[in-house]
Structures are given as structure tokens and as C-alpha cells.
């Protein structure tokens, strides 16, 4: 079957923190098969806005066939989204891109002679924390132990929902808040001594870079997967608008810089592939 843009029903569109919304979209073709780290293109209604807006998948209700996105209102396209009420229509296409690779986590957890459970560490910053929900669910289902470290500027969101999965959840904020760690995610991880076998991160580029350094000082950034952002035009691989320099090991063992498309070859890459 060919992929397409569908006009779907908005089942839910709630402001969960100031300027942050969660949208539920009825999308049977996608809810079944979407994997953590993949994204959806939302096509704006206004004629003057011509390009799709990409959003990582937050959660999927496979029974009700609903996908959930969490988005921050930052411009015209997201403002249009925020104005949609329950029952409105939205043009959407996906899932797009490659999600997080969970094979190593699954194989590790399934190994019979393991001494201790596989420890996975999930790190998110701002709206980048959104994609950790589905990821945590799948990693827990695979049998790994999950610690999620969430960083926000001021207003945390999504932590309770994550805790319900069974993950251990640590929260940090840049501006002092009651009862949460004051500082950034790496400070928070140092503070609580968080390390793991495998790391997964999504958030602003400077945060990802700091996380990569953190993982390297505690081991090897081949154990880290990061979800990158890039300005996109098409979101499905044809325009090269998102094409980013990446390190690639050649057959002769040497590393070379090649360009990869964030939308199609990513958005998830291994930490040691990224030209930081």
C-alpha cells in the first residue's frame, strides 16, 4: 500500500503546561506500527504555510488506534494546531523516519545468563521528553530497567505519565522549582549517579552534545542513540533540506564525513556518528 496524507480526527488537544499541548489523533494505519523515535508530518491548513511540521511520536494507543503528539507553540503552524478543538480535522502523514534501535536492548534483556537486568537511561530536554513515553513502554516491555531523566526550563510535564509505566523518573529544571533537581540533565545524572548499559536521548542539540560527553566519560558513546532535529522541507527524503554531516566508517576502517538525511536516514543516530 502506498503511503499518503490522511485527514484525521483530533480526539484530544489539551494544554498540559504553559504553551505545551498534547494532541491525540485517530490514525489506525499508523497507531499499529509506529515505533518510538519516529515522527509525523502535520500539514498546516492555512495556504500561506506550505511546509509540513514534524513532531516525534509521544505515545500510541494501539487498541483505540490513536497516536499522541506533544508540541510547543513556537510559531504559526503550532499556533494553528493549538486552536483545534476536539472533533476538528488535521492533515497528517507518518510514521516517518527510523526510530530508536531497540534490538540490543531486547537481545541483552533476553540473554539467559545475565547477572543483572539491562539498565537503560532515557534523557529528554523540553518537548524532547515527549518521545520518551513510548520508548520507555517498549524498553520495559522488553525486560530492561528504565531510568528517565527529564530536563525543563521551568515547568515540568509528563513525569507522572512516565512514572506510571514503571520507569524511575528524575526531573531537573533550569529555574529553581520545589522538589526537583535544580540544574541541567547531566548535573542531575551526576548527582544521582545515573549510568546504564544503553542511553537514549532527545532534546536541543547543546543538551545532546553534553549527554554525549557524559556517556563518553562513563563509557562509550556507541551506547548512546540521539534523536536529532533539523529544518525540513519534505520530511520524506526527497529535498535534502535536512542533510547533515555524519561520521561513517568506511570499508577500510577509516572514518569519513558523509551527509545523511535527518528525516529519512534518522532522525535517530548513534552518538559516535554525530559530528558534534
Amino acid at each position: 500500500m502506498k503511503q499518503t496524507i490522511i485527514t484525521a480526527d483530533v480526539l484530544d488537544n489539551t494544554e498540559i503546561a504553559p504553551g505545551i499541548f498534547r494532541m491525540g489523533i485517530h490514525y489506525p494505519e499508523a497507531a499499529d506500527r509506529v515505533r518510538p523515535g519516529q515522527f509525523f508530518n502535520i500539514y498546516p491548513d492555512a495556504d500561506r504555510l506550505i511546509l509540513p511540521r514534524p513532531f516525534g511520536v509521544h505515545a500510541a494507543d494501539r487498541r483505540e488506534q490513536v497516536i499522541y503528539l506533544i508540541y510547543e507553540v513556537t510559531g504559526e503552524g503550532t499556533r494553528e494546531m493549538a486552536e483545534k478543538s476536539k472533533g476538528a480535522k488535521v492533515r497528517v502523514s507518518g510514521p516517518l523516519g527510523n526510530g530508536f534501535d531497540l534490538q540490543e536492548a531486547r537481545e541483552g534483556a533476553a540473554r539467559e545468563n545475565r547477572q543483572a537486568p539491562v539498565q537503560t537511561v532515557l534523557i529528554g530536554g523540553g518537548v524532547g521528553t515527549s518521545v520518551l513515553q513510548l520508548l520507555a513502554e517498549e524498553l520495559l516491555a522488553a525486560g530492561t530497567e528504565v531510568t528517565a531523566v527529564l530536563g525543563f526550563r521551568k515547568h515540568p510535564f509528563g513525569a507522572e505519565e512516565l512514572r506510571k509505566t514503571g520507569a524511575r523518573v528524575l526531573v531537573s529544571t533550569d529555574l529553581p522549582q520545589e522538589g526537583v533537581y535544580h540544574g541541567n540533565v547531566c548535573g542531575c545524572m551526576e548527582h544521582y549517579g545515573v549510568t546504564g548499559d544503553l542511553y537514549f536521548a532527545c532534546g536541543p542539540r547543546p543538551m545532546l552534545k553534553a549527554v554525549d560527553e557524559y556517556v563518553r566519560t562513563h563509557g562509550d558513546d556507541r551506547a548512546l542513540q540521539v534523536s536529532l532535529e533539523s529544518r525540513m522541507a519534505c520530511g520524506y527524503g526527497v529535498c535534502l533540506g535536512c542533510s547533515t554531516p555524519m561520521l561513517e566508517e568506511q570499508e577500510n576502517g577509516q572514518e569519513m564525513i558523509v551527509r545523511k538525511r535527518v528525516c529519512k536516514d534518522g532522525p535517530v543516530f548513534r552518538g559516535d556518528e554525530v559530528v558534534w
Partner: protein, 313 residues
Amino acid sequence: MAKLDKKAVELGIDLRVDVAGVSFSNPVMTASGTFSPQDSSAYYDLSELGAAVTKGVSAEPWSGNDLPRIAETYGGMLNSIGLENKGAAAYIRDTLPFLSRYDTKIICNLAGHSVEEYVRVAEMLRDCPEIDLFELNISCPNVSEGGMLFGTDPAMAEAVTSAVRKVVDRPLIVKLTPNVTDITVIAKAAEHAGADAVSLINTLMGMRIDLKTRSAVLSRKTGGFSGPAIKPVALRMVWETARAVQIPVIGIGGITKGTDVVEFLAAGASAVEVGTAALMDPAAVVRIKSELIEYMAENGFRSIAELKQAFSV
């Protein structure tokens, strides 16, 4: 025989067009840089296309410009990709075998920094049997040497066209830039140098400034402006050019629906290419083709020639 559109045949509509001695199943083609055989084919059957026009290919791989390369504008967009491509060898190895599985014409878009580079890529590709036509891009605004430079000077346009003409025996389309005072001068130069057709327009030079970061949005500062907002300019230039040259004109610029195609045909185009619309909707080319068929059915046109004759512009 190219694949005929089923719906058109049922309605008794003949969508075929001849351009530069090649017969196309319909006049709706992709535009270079907004189509990738593998990725686009996830959304529609490529045999639906009048032609598949591929991304600009150079003799050696080019890595293109730094990010950000994309900015949205009112009803349009800017790009500064800079002709990133994997080079002619990869094109022969990956792109052509994939595309040749489909029943459509293949138009290979050529890029270079100098006459020598254009000739070299043409030499590397001239013997590929899969390629039906070449489209010489002398109009990319996003590379510092070559590219658009050749399309803004009639003597240089003529020089590069005749140099490539000598190398390839397949029909040669020359793709023109709108960033000139009089596009018909360049079109005539290309015609004089042996072009079999011209295609226009490539992108207009544009710019956007971000008030938050207080700098240009694109890392290269300026970029190519495309999409629905540029259609009136493109249409005017196609109309001017069609009256100035004897060779066929392929219309490009801001086409997003079937009636846009009608306008370009009415202005004198023999066929059209659809670019940015494919970023706004991956299957746009196919939708636009069926809207064209619907328009023709509603207005009783049984062929493209009949449609064109009905207009006096």
C-alpha cells in the same frame, strides 16, 4: 509506448504530448530536486509520471551548503541546498536501474561549475540507454561558481549549451533562471546553440531574516524562492519565452493544482514540471494530473492540443 492514464482513456481524453521529438504519456513531470525515485515511489506509482526529472547530477559528488538550507515564506519557501548529489557514478549505479523499472520517460538534470565540468558529466552519462532527455541546469542560484552564472549571460549560455550539445545525442533541454532582465535573450541563445527545448523557471533569488537570532535564516544568507507564491512570475516568463523561440517550452514554477497546469499550457508551455508542491504533498504530481483530466472532461477537451487552441493569450 508510454503508459496511458486509465481515467483519461475512459473519458476519451488523450493526454499525450510531444516535446523535442519525444512522446510523453502526459504533460505532468517532476521538477529536479523535489523528487527522489526511491522515496517518491512510496507515495505513488512512478509510471503515472509524464517524466521523472532527477536531481541535478555532477561528475563528482558535491556535498552542498551548510544548514539551515530551508526557510518557509508567505506561500512559498527558500532553499539553499547547493546541488548536493552523489555524483554521476552513483547515479548510474543506483538511480537509473531503479527508475528504468517504471514506464515513464527519464530526464537527467546536469550540474557543473564550469564548461569542462558540464561536458565531463555529460560524457559520463551520454551512453546510458535509460536516459531519454537531458536537462542542462544553468540556473542554480545556490552555488558560487558556475550554476546560475551560465544562465545570466547569453554568451556563456550559448557556450555551455553548444559544448554539451556536441557531447550528447539525446534531446537537450536547457533550464533557465528568472534572475535576469530579459529571459528571452537567454532562451534565444540556448536555441541558437542547439537546445531542443527550454524549461523555466528555476528559483528566484530570495532572503529571510530571523528577528529572534537577528541574522539571515539560511546559512548561505540568500536562497532560491519557489512554491505557489512565484507562479505569476513563472507564468509571465513562460508566455514571453514561448513567443520568442521556436523550440518547445516546459513550464515550471508554483504549480500546485490542475488548473495551474492549464494556465501554463495556455501561456504556451508544451509540458510542465511540478516542484515545491511535492514537498507540500508527496503525491501532488499524481493529484495534479487527475485534476487536469477532470478539468478537460468538464470543458470537453479531448487532447492537450485542443485545450491549448481554445485559449488566446
